[in-house]
């Protein structure tokens, strides 16, 4: 019974959402359980945060490599979390100040740092070694050139339009890129659809964990 009832719960919840499209009377029921879902997700996020805390606590306790930094992580978690829970999250609170001067610069610099690595990766990885790599390189090259004003300002008036970086970039995006991305979308969606169906029909049960 520890597995059957949850499986029925999953089936009923999923089927209500699907049937709602055909049976308008289910609309209120669906709306109600959707609100429950948000609450459950909120708890799931708490579980995630707690897992983060637990792992770092164990790292400290067992003195694993880099454990002193885990103390910093825990201080950050409690500092930010408690400030927000107690003092509120509106504009001009301490929480807002911490967001602006701690979280904001760290978050944006982490990703800004990647600019340098993207440049060195372009230097190291973009080599016309094979047909594949050449296509990759050519597309990236044209897109980079076509995106910025500097890429097109040198184009003289007699230059054929189909050789200008901006025009070529637009065609790459609309044809080559759209085709590739669409295949990825279709392929991935078929995966999601079949997994969803397997879950609802009780074929996929790994979410129930081990016996």
């Amino acid at each position: 019974m520890r597995r059957e009832i949850p499986m029925i719960v999953a089936f009923v919840a999923g089927v209500i959402i699907i049937l709602e499209f055909f049976v308008p009377a289910l609309r209120d029921v669906a709306a109600g359980i959707q609100n429950w879902y948000l609450v459950v997700v909120a708890f799931a996020i708490l579980v995630g945060a707690f897992n983060l805390l637990r792992m770092n606590y164990m790292k400290i306790r067992h003195r694993r490599a880099d454990w002193p930094y885990s103390i910093i992580l825990i201080i950050g978690l409690f500092g930010m979390g408690l400030t927000g829970l107690i003092g509120g999250i509106d504009a001009d609170t301490t929480f807002d100040w911490l967001f602006n001067y701690f979280m904001f610069p760290m978050s944006s610099t982490m990703f800004a740092l990647l600019a340098f690595f993207v440049a060195s990766a372009a230097y190291r990885a973009f080599r016309a070694r094979t047909v594949d790599a050449t296509l990759l390189l050519a597309a990236a090259f044209i897109v980079m050139l076509g995106q910025v004003p500097l890429g097109s300002f040198w184009v003289p008036s007699w230059w054929p339009f189909f050789l200008s970086p901006a025009w070529l970039k637009d065609r790459i995006m609309e044809i080559g890129n759209t085709a590739g991305q669409r295949a990825i979308l279709i392929g991935a969606s078929l995966g999601v659809v079949s997994t969803s169906l397997r879950i609802l029909l009780g074929i996929e049960r790994s979410y129930l964990g081990e016996e």
Partner: protein, 116 residues
Amino acid sequence: MAGLFEPTSRPEYGELSPERRDELIGKIARAIVERSLTAPAIFFLESTKPLSFIGSQVMVFFDPLVRSIFNVRGYDDVRIALEDRRNVDLLLCEIERYDAEWRAEVKERKKRRKAA
């Protein structure tokens, strides 16, 4: 509360043995190379290397959720491997090495097929 902060049978907080690490890296490298994704994979790994630790912590955060929905083997191992940035470099080297080997092999096979 007893089980809460205790190690479980899962290698949650352990370190990866060199053998297991090499096995994992070899497996990922083979999967990438044999799908002809060498070039994009190298670019992606090279350009996101500084974020490997953050990636591992995101995996910690979503661990209970992911594990609830999917049966992912090796999730812990990948997560632990990501905590050490040097492993990303090892993976990059392995991809480059195996790529050369694999391409030579494919060429050889084609030659033999033509001869036959």
